[in-house]
């Protein structure tokens, strides 16, 4: 009886002010679409960074004087460091293959010189850090090792990617925070209007002894419903449009478009749904402050 009464009251409240409820749902939808969009942007940047940094190698060019077992020892030593995922030895012949690959079309003259005397190419160790951002530490440790002639890394590109990723994350976080706050305030306002419209009825309810939760629950459910529907609409639109958004984004970032993983999409969808519902309930609770006193 009680549960049915609460549900009836919630649906009545929604039916009584359909335009106000629709406006709240729409704004939650727009806001959560932006939040979900921001999550996708952040994910896309991270994905981009992962693709880039999978190829990140700290390259330690070795002195020609190093013997075979000294090279192996050096390789093993570096591989044992924390933060180092993999160390691959590049022989002179592998270096030549690589030079052919990179220089053949654009710098045939340089390649011709190398081809004349391939021994000028040094052997090297290609070190892959566990985290891309750790390259500096690895570079500094290798630099002082005996037998290492020179160390090279794609520093600028890595720094730029890491920095850009952090900026986007921060931006997305702030967008989420501001939009979330706006959603809560809007729902609070909707519920406040609903409480105000029903103030006579609520006063009577309180006078005849209706419990506090009994009075509040229909409004909390209304807020919950508004948040949930707004979030569901946002998820629907993003699921339909996400590939286009990602492609657009990655075209502007000059990188390859990547497919959005199903698990990623569903877990984030659930999170957005939860956020919408929570924002709705929080907004409703906020909206009732000071209006339902004894």
């Amino acid at each position: 009886m009680r549960f049915q009464y609460i549900l009836t009251n919630t649906t009545q409240g929604i039916r009584r002010n359909p335009l106000v409820v629709a406006s709240a749902v729409l704004v939650v939808f727009v806001m959560l679409s932006l939040v979900f969009g921001a999550i996708l942007v952040r994910w896309s940047i991270n994905e981009d960074l992962t693709v880039w940094t999978q190829g990140v190698r700290v390259i330690a060019y070795l002195s020609d004087e190093l013997e075979g077992d000294e090279v192996t020892s050096l390789q093993n030593q570096i591989a044992s460091w924390e933060g180092v995922e993999e160390v691959i030895f590049f022989s002179k012949s592998e270096a030549l293959e690589e030079a052919r690959e990179f220089l053949a079309s654009d710098h045939p003259d340089a390649l011709a010189i190398i081809e004349e005397d391939p021994s000028i190419l040094p052997t090297s160790l290609r070190i892959k850090p566990t985290e891309a951002a750790d390259y500096k530490e690895i570079r500094d440790r290798i630099l002082v090792m005996p037998g290492v002639a020179k160390v090279r890394v794609a520093e600028e590109a890595i720094d730029k990617l890491v920095k850009r990723s952090q900026q986007w994350s921060l931006f997305a976080m702030w967008i989420g925070f501001v939009i979330g706050a706006a959603a809560v305030v809007l729902i609070a306002n909707t519920i406040r209007m609903a409480v105000w419209a029903r103030r006579e009825e609520l006063a009577i309810m309180k006078l005849v002894g209706a419990g506090n939760w009994y009075v509040r629950l229909p409004f909390l459910l209304e807020g919950f419903f508004e948040g949930l529907v707004g979030a569901a609409l946002a998820i629907g639109v993003i699921i339909v449009a996400h590939q286009g958004i990602i492609e657009l984004l990655q075209t502007s970032l000059d990188s390859e478009a990547v497919e959005l993983g199903g698990v990623f999409l569903w877990t984030r969808s659930l999170a957005v749904l939860f956020f919408g519902a929570a924002a709705g309930v929080a907004g409703a609770a906020f909206g009732m402050v000071g209006l339902l006193r004894d």
Binding site: M1, R2, Y5, V208
Partner: protein
């Protein structure tokens, strides 16, 4: 049943609505709170309903010390009270039956209890044949009877009535007073704020007269106008009898 001890209510640190009121109302009593507008009648009723806390003093209602009652227990207190207002406070979108049933629904009474009690109380107020009418289809007196039915349907220990005849003509008011008297005879304590001389004079019940927030007279079997007798407490009255 009801006890006020040195109760004062001040609004905004300036307006004294109730001043040092001490009052004891026994179970089953019918008490009129009389006095001109602004004398503090309605404020006392609001204090007894725990709609507001007193600035000073202590209040007990139905065995509960209102000063110490946590807000989550207020609904339980209200279930032992019924309230009737001058403007009826009926829900315009509900029928007579639904308005009365509403008081039971919101406190979670089961359907079969509602179906049994609502027709019963509608018969008591003589509105059984108008159960399906909307409030705006009823006369003022009938609307007030619906309001009384709603206040009484849960069989409260105390019924508070704040100017219940204020919007009614004298003939209709007599009918409402008969109804309140009938309810009082079932053992329900009735506290009624009014400035209707004729009703108070006709009923001859306990009269607590207020002026500028203070009790100026407390008299059993009293009338509206101050008698020549000095202010006497019911206890003194009884001892004198």
């Amino acid at each position: 049943m009801i006890k006020l001890e040195g109760v004062t209510k001040v609004y905004d640190d300036v307006t004294v609505a109730v001043k040092n009121v001490t009052l004891d109302i026994a179970k089953g009593e019918f008490v009129f709170l009389v006095g001109p507008s602004g004398s503090g009648k309605s404020t006392i009723i609001r204090l007894l309903l725990r709609q507001e806390p007193p600035t000073e003093g202590e209040i007990w209602v139905a065995g509960k010390h209102l000063n110490k009652l946590p807000s989550w227990k207020v609904p339980l207190l209200r279930r032992s009270m019924g309230t009737v207002f001058q403007d009826f406070k009926l829900l315009p979108n509900k029928t007579v039956y639904e308005n009365v049933a509403f008081a039971l629904e919101v406190i979670g009474r089961p359907k079969h209890v509602i179906q049994a009690q609502v027709p019963q109380v509608l018969r008591l107020v003589d509105l059984a044949t108008k159960a399906d009418r909307m409030p705006q289809q009823l006369s003022g007196g009938e609307q007030q009877r619906v309001s009384i039915a709603r206040a009484f349907v849960n069989r409260p220990l105390i019924l508070f009535a704040d100017e219940p005849t204020g919007n009614l003509d004298p003939g209709t008011s007599v009918g409402i007073m008969r109804l309140l008297d009938r309810i009082n005879r079932t053992g329900t304590t009735v506290v009624m704020a009014t400035h209707d001389h004729a009703i108070v004079d006709a009923m001859r019940r306990r009269v607590v007269a207020l002026q500028r927030g203070a009790v100026v007279r407390d008299e059993r079997g009293g009338v509206y106008q101050e008698s020549a007798a000095p202010v006497a407490s019911p206890a003194e009255d009884e001892s004198g009898e």
